[in-house]
């Protein structure tokens, strides 16, 4: 999977993937949870009101202005951030690449860094010099890790020859990603390298999705 890992790291990664694969796909909520959820849904539900049955509610103008103020603050802050980014051409952003589809937001990161996370971490120089790119790469890595975990168990169902193709292909993509991470670590403001790296990650995500959809994998 990651040919650049040493045997100890590789073993840790294998154990982590195996442990993740054993987790149940679904979990039944604890008893008594559902009535509480139901109460909250019912409380928030909008009920139809027959005309004339209820008197018009009393206007309470004092309730809306804090919300409006907060919304205005968000809009102003957003504009400032956008303007500052537009005024800083030396900050290359791969989000500007029109042909790249933005990734969905990654789920919340765990509180502590796992060994895998530390190994695949975005180069420190990049985080300091190009936080936008570092954040995008972090999302790619997160998505890639999640897919790898879900694919790991499915590849066992594939024919040996196909498994070997999958292994070799992932090794090829990972080698390219390692190359580019190293290059970006020493030249963090190089937008071109960022584009190469995002392209490599997209190739990896796309490839993992294809593996997941293969006949024999997960059927």
């Amino acid at each position: 999977m990651n040919d650049d890992l040493n045997p100890l790291e590789s073993e840790r990664l294998r154990r982590l993937l195996a442990a993740a694969a054993e987790l149940p796909r679904e979990a039944t909520p604890p008893e008594g949870a559902w009535p509480a959820i139901r109460r909250r849904i019912d409380a928030a539900r909008v009920h139809a009101i027959a005309p004339g049955t209820v008197a018009a509610p009393e206007r309470r103008p004092a309730r809306w202005w804090p919300l409006a103020a907060a919304a205005a603050l968000v809009v102003v802050a957003g504009s400032v951030i956008v303007t500052r980014r537009e005024q800083a051409p030396e900050q290359p952003s791969i989000a500007a690449e029109p042909e790249r589809v933005p990734l969905p937001a990654a789920p919340d990161a765990p509180a502590t860094q796992s060994p895998v996370r530390a190994l695949m971490a975005v180069p420190a120089g990049l985080t300091a010099n190009n936080p936008t790119l570092a954040a995008v790469l972090e999302q790619y890595q997160q998505a890639s890790r999640e897919l790898e975990v879900s694919v790991a168990t499915q590849t066992a169902a594939l024919p040996p020859a196909t498994r070997e193709v999958v292994r070799r292909s992932l090794a090829t993509i990972d080698a390219a990603i390692t190359d580019l991470r190293q290059a970006l670590g020493s030249d963090p403001r190089n937008a071109s390298l960022g584009q190469y790296l995002s392209a490599a990650y997209e190739q990896k995500l796309d490839f993992l999705k294809r593996v997941r959809a293969m006949p024999g994998a997960g059927m």
Binding site: P159, T162, S192, L193, A199, Q203, M214, G216
Partner: protein
Amino acid sequence: MRHVALITGLVASAIAAGAQKPSQKIERGWPLDMDGAVRIHNYNGSVVVTGWDKDSVAVTAVIGGKMGLFGGGGRRGVKFGLESASDQTAPVADFTVFVPSRARLSVRGAATMIEIRNFAGTVDASALSGRVRISGSVTEITAETMDGDLEVESSPAYFRGKTATGRITWTGSSDDASLNTVSGAITVTSSTLHRARFESISGDVKFTGTIKPDGRVTLDSHGGDVSATLARDARAEVTIDAPKGNVLGTEFVRPAGKALQYASVPHSGSSGTTRTADLVLRSFKGRVSVAQP
């Protein structure tokens, strides 16, 4: 002693005969509208589909073993094949199929060679280790194979092709094409492209052809060589990015190690007012070359 040898020989022959499963030939047919949908499943063997000008589907299946052919549908859609989740459990089967030439065709295979010819509808074909070959006046193509090759001779309006280690070879034109491999080479010989992207991680990417005036074609490889040969009358702004590789061209030669380089392909008879196409060539480690005869 001779009896023992004879008995042993007979037993061996019996075992061999038992292991060699007899094959069966099944012929089926269904009526289908000319633009109806056809879905074919065969995970081991071959599927050869030919388009014809009849509103029906005909299949001849030669199946190793006793597994039968499932199939059914109506005038808007027909589905048939062997019920097996993968090529590990599927018997070897060879399908020869005729479908209405403008149908919407879907073929699912694993260790399956897929060939589609004389076809003018839409194609969605996938295999794992088999080769996929498509020809005809196909309008849309979505094709995938992992380590088999993908070979297309057609000019679909929309074309998506993917392999892992397999090569992609395409001859034709398109307004919207995207080809992608991990280590397989991509070779495109095209009369005209509009928007196209050809990407590989370690495979070579090669393009020969013309780009429409407002089109954009991108050739991208991490470790492979990237090369383009534009037709003599083609006009294009060429962007070359080869941080670690060599850049070779008929009009320009740049030393290796330059991060970003721009150049324009010389235009024959350019008026300067015509919209030009964009050609982007990128390779992180490989050589990049562009030429115009």
